[in-house]
């Protein structure tokens, strides 16, 4: 009998793992189970679809069920909800939402790729028809339709993180007056204070109102079932549209019954082969935690880059391979209107909590020679461990060249370079693109002096 590999979850890690498994062992029967109608779409692109940067919704679809089936030879079952994993008999109880009945699906190897789900506020009114989360393609279509048909004038975004920033830009692009309500004093936790301050200033320049230290207490709905007011710790806010974007958490209900080990952040923990604590069950993607190789601690970093690489490893190993995923650092960026905002490695707070002897410092430099076209100010903050002289993390923010420079620092952090080594890196100088002293070198030369 052919090897039976079953993958639960059809968004990002799932299809990647299933495809990889089939490539490694073309004789395997690979089944992908997905609870919605869609598989393999670009959830990260949804704010840009709402903001009309991406016009064609087809561009959001990476693979259709048919692509995965016909082209890759994977059996795709959409509208199929796994209700339970039986690790002893190696089988799943799967509810077919079309037929309403439960099947038993046996497996030799199982890959859990159930992803994440947005956190909720837990209030009545959160399911009102003008309250949206950015979590699914259907939700994106509904939001787009709502904006097109009902032309909301005022929006409130609950949460000033990455999705909050992207959605603010998307809503402003639709001509909607936008207010962000945020728990903390500055947007985007995880960034250094100076970076956050610059994000806040950009929001102000773009006409977005930002209310710090604001807790939402209640949604007030009208007779048509729409929220029209939010009661908060900073007073009332009226709204025609509400976006809730307060972060995500791993989807790990299915891990409970088979007693799969979870980590400190509630995600599934695996070894370097993406095997869970339970025999023949692997996991990949946003339902997992990941080893941060800067401080060697578990972190929850629901990023498509990490998910895809874990998925390749899980898929290969489910099919008999011996691939390894060694961990990751946070290498993330977001566009905040006209700014590129990037972060790599540990924040100063994470670094302190991990016991490093932290010093941070910042520089402002020009992205290109200052009198050349497209040159813009770039603000670079580096988190340094004074004992080892290693750099542990960095923030870059500016209108030009922040993200790709962050990648250069990402490699430097992964290679455990000291600040002195970074100050000696050979980087390109060419007047229209990069100054004689690249901002990364200017930052390193400054930090080098901090003993």
């Amino acid at each position: 009998m052919n090897q039976r590999i079953v993958v639960i979850g059809g968004l990002a890690a799932g299809p990647s793992a299933a495809s990889k498994a089939k490539r490694i062992n073309p004789d395997a029967d690979v089944t992908l189970l997905e609870q919605s109608e869609h598989v393999s779409y670009g959830i990260c692109e949804i704010p840009y679809y709402i903001g009309n940067v991406v016009q064609d919704p087809d561009n959001l679809i990476v693979f259709t069920p048919n692509d995965l089936g016909k082209e890759k030879g994977i059996c795709v079952r959409t509208l199929s909800v796994v209700e339970e994993i039986d690790p002893v008999n190696k089988s799943l109880a799967v509810r077919d939402l079309r037929k309403g009945k439960i099947d038993e699906v046996p497996y030799d190897k199982l890959i859990i790729a159930t992803g994440s789900r947005p956190k909720t506020l837990g209030f009545p009114g959160e399911d009102a028809r003008n309250v949206f989360q950015i979590k699914s393609l259907d939700g994106a279509f509904a939001l787009k339709k709502y904006i097109g048909e009902e032309k909301p004038a005022k929006a409130v975004i609950v949460g000033g993180g990455y999705i909050g920033m992207e959605m603010a830009e998307a809503l402003v692009a639709n001509g909607i007056e936008t207010t962000i309500l945020h728990r903390s004093d500055l947007p985007m936790s995880g960034l250094e204070a100076g970076t956050k301050q610059m994000v806040l200033e950009e929001l102000g320049r773009q006409g977005v109102r930002f209310h710090p230290k604001t807790q939402v207490k209640r949604f007030i709905t009208d007779s048509a079932g729409k929220v029209y007011k939010l009661e908060t710790s900073s007073g009332d806010f009226s709204a025609d549209l509400v976006i809730v974007a307060i972060g995500v958490e791993p989807n790990t209900e299915l891990a409970l019954k088979p007693r799969i080990s979870l980590g400190p952040h509630g995600g599934i923990t695996t070894d370097q082969r993406q095997s869970t604590s339970v025999d023949s069950i692997l996991a990949a993607g946003d339902c997992c935690e990941v080893r941060n190789f800067v401080n060697n601690a578990w972190m929850y970093a629901p990023l498509a880059t990490i998910a895809t690489r874990q998925a390749w490893v899980a898929g290969e190993n489910a099919a008999g391979g011996t691939a390894v995923f060694k961990g990751a650092l946070r290498a993330i960026a977001v566009k905040v209107f006209d700014l590129e905002v990037a972060r790599v490695g540990l924040s100063s707070r994470e670094a302190q909590e991990s016991g490093f002897d932290v010093v941070i410092d910042s520089i402002d430099a020009h992205s290109r020679i200052w009198f050349f076209p497209n040159s813009a100010k770039l603000h670079v903050t580096i988190v340094l461990d004074k004992r080892s002289r290693r750099i542990l993390g960095a923030n870059l923010i500016g209108k030009d060249g922040a993200v790709l420079r962050a990648n250069t620092l990402s490699v430097a952090i992964q290679q455990r370079l000291t600040i002195e080594e970074i100050s000696h890196l050979d980087l390109i100088y060419t007047p229209p693109f990069s100054p004689l002293w690249d901002p990364l070198l200017i930052a390193a030369n400054r930090l080098k002096k901090r003993k």
Copy 2:
């Protein structure tokens, strides 16, 4: 008596070395000798001044003699030509071009920073008033004036290297019909064939005529002393303006008498402290060769980035320090009209000549997700050593994100990463700036399969 540090050469390495020496030992008497009237200007920016990208010539000046004197405490002597170095008595014979007489200038430590000079064709007519090289600020002013006043219609650039590319863009920006005559079949030696081909196509799109395998034989001048025709191996070319840009060579005449060791490319060789083979004489910048730390061979790489770093080391050590310059790789880029063209590390030819077991391969990818604004095709070529799996070099060419991605590979090459390690690097994905699989990862994943 205070320590006497004398620096010969006032363009790039010289002022940096002098400034560093004075910072390290504020009591030293630091003297900078420069044969022209100007010090410390941006020779790399000259094509952009000719092309009117840089409007204000003051932007070309980094430091005036006065800046270096008053602000930094350096004694600057312009129009001062060193005629001879006496290493036994530690003194220089210096001709003062204002007074026409020769002084003796003693030193305790001498730093030679005499730079490079453009190669010449050696023909009569090369000194005609409409023949220019890109070698000095005065030359740039003369060329700008010539274009403004005499409005040349047709230009011929002899040489299809970096300066040839930049000058072609500058002349086209002035509305001048531009022809490049080049020795080899494709422009820009040192790049891989596929990259050169894309450069050639860009020249064609921009209306620049490129004549390959063309040797200039003779300049034909009119009665007013201007070249109006070039006889070449590919026939005659008429011209109102000629730019000669056939490369540079190290300026090392002064090294001969004191028998300072030179390397295989005719540049001064130094140890890691920038000391030459002669006691108390250091050297830095374009007059030097540099250790390429990819193949550990001497190379001649007249780049401002390398010059400045050597200068800091030479300046610090002349003043009593123990700084080290370990070498460099070639990390260079040029704008060819709408393209960013970057190269890091060894070319495939250099790699073969150094005994590596070379494989090269290329990919085309999008710089950002293909349906996002500003996304453009990026062509990445990687030079791999099959035995060690290290990457030795790379070319990147495209309209977006080539140069800064080359820096990321530069770090990878400096860290001797294997292609497998590069394929596992954590790089940023964020829709408006970078795709899920960065072009660098796509390239690494492809090369990984080449065993």
